[in-house]
Amino acid sequence: MTAGLATRPAATVAPGALRALAVLEARRYLRSPLFLAGLGVLVWSTVVATGDFRHNAASEDPGDLVLLPAFFLGLLGVVVAYRMTRTLDASGEAPDAAPSDRFRRTAALCLACLVPAVPAFAWIGWIYVALAVGRIPLSSAITPGARAAILLSGAVCAVGGPLFGVLVARWARFPGAGLTAVVVLAGWALLATVSLALPPSRAGTLLHLSAPFTGWVSADGPRRPAWVAGGSPGWYLAYLVLLCGLAVTAALLPGTTGPRRRRVLQVLGALAVVAIGCLGLAVLPDPARVPL
């Protein structure tokens, strides 16, 4: 009897089930009060910050503003996605009775985490429009390509935070794991800023860029001239995208068995190797700091 149950094939899943599930989860994400609150504060703070562009042009770069989508969509998104995943699990056996397995439900949750990408890309468009309309002079210390990579990293953080929330909810079973994940992410990003207070070196750049979020412009004191940290924003962006891939793959792992589990583990290993390679390439350039 038990052996029969164990070897029973998985429930048949309709071809469009994943899409339908993803749409349902995306609607839940859109209705989350924390997402809506974060979006509201993001809009308000961006309006205020873009108004100060001309005033702060000598000491700041628009790339500094990536903290806004990274925090209000990404870090808050950790909590949103964590709670969505846990409430789905808390509904007991009902999801197990649905014609969809745990793998697909997790995949649908991960697809729903693309919701904050829409306001994040709109935010990047807003920044470029504000720069063009205000004819803001930009420092040549950051190339246009590097600035685009820095701004895009904010959008990747906006998606990466929720994906990390799904990952934590799938692996950590204790209450309060969501807040612990937020504290760990914030602590990691803050720890990386320690390297900016040290003399420039490749080890310092590695510490700086290993975090899932980082700022590029800093100064040696409140009234000292600003500079741009060493490293490649383009390869750092690739590293962040691969971290998102790692989060998705690791979140899918608990619901898999047999050959599928082996495939997921292979993808996880490959992504980890490529991510380490991208981080290495991001650290490779001259660690010297360039005045803004």
């Binding site: 924390l34 504060v41 703070s45 903290l67 925090f71 209000f72 870090l75 808050l76 909590v79 964590y82 709670r83 846990r86 204790f174 209450p175 309060g176 794991a177 969501g178 807040l179 612990t180 937020v182 504290v183 760990v184 914030a186 602590g187 803050l190």
Partner: protein, 195 residues
Amino acid sequence: MILRAVAWPAVLGGTAAGAAILALCAVVPGDGPPLTYVRLALIALAGAAAFVLDEPAAAAVAAVPVSRPRRTARRLVAVALPLGVWVAGILGVAAGHAGTPVLGLLAEGACAPAVAVGAAAALRAAGRDEPGELVASSLGAVLLAVLLFDPPPHSVPLFPVGGGWSASTSLWGVLGTAAALVVVASSLEPRGRLR
């Protein structure tokens, strides 16, 4: 007996995270106290305190012959754990870093968990048996936003760095007192219930 019903994994998890951050703050050398990291520990400890009133078996507990105020009072004993870790941590940071504003930080550490417990008590009175997760994540997000973005008014900062400690302590005092009143008010036995 009631203390056994506390969501200890959540309380211990948050407290352990706060203790680890405070221990790092105490041993890492620097010109002054690493206040940003110290406040990160405070967020973890306040989050831990938010779980103290969680009651997964609320229906069963409501039937026991112990009044609601007494049950709440007994559960509040668990807040001593994050509070104790905060006091020990701040004294450790002060020992390693001269000029640590001990009194101001102790006020923050006493009042932030009080706000968490107050919010949890209000939600519990509104019918939510396990408000910890919601309070911990919402309060954590708000405190983290204040810590990272330092919003105005700067005359009354929630997390001061240079000056403004007395104004900040007053603000925390008001918040802590309001939270304590909310805990008391929402823990009273409803009229007509067995005393």
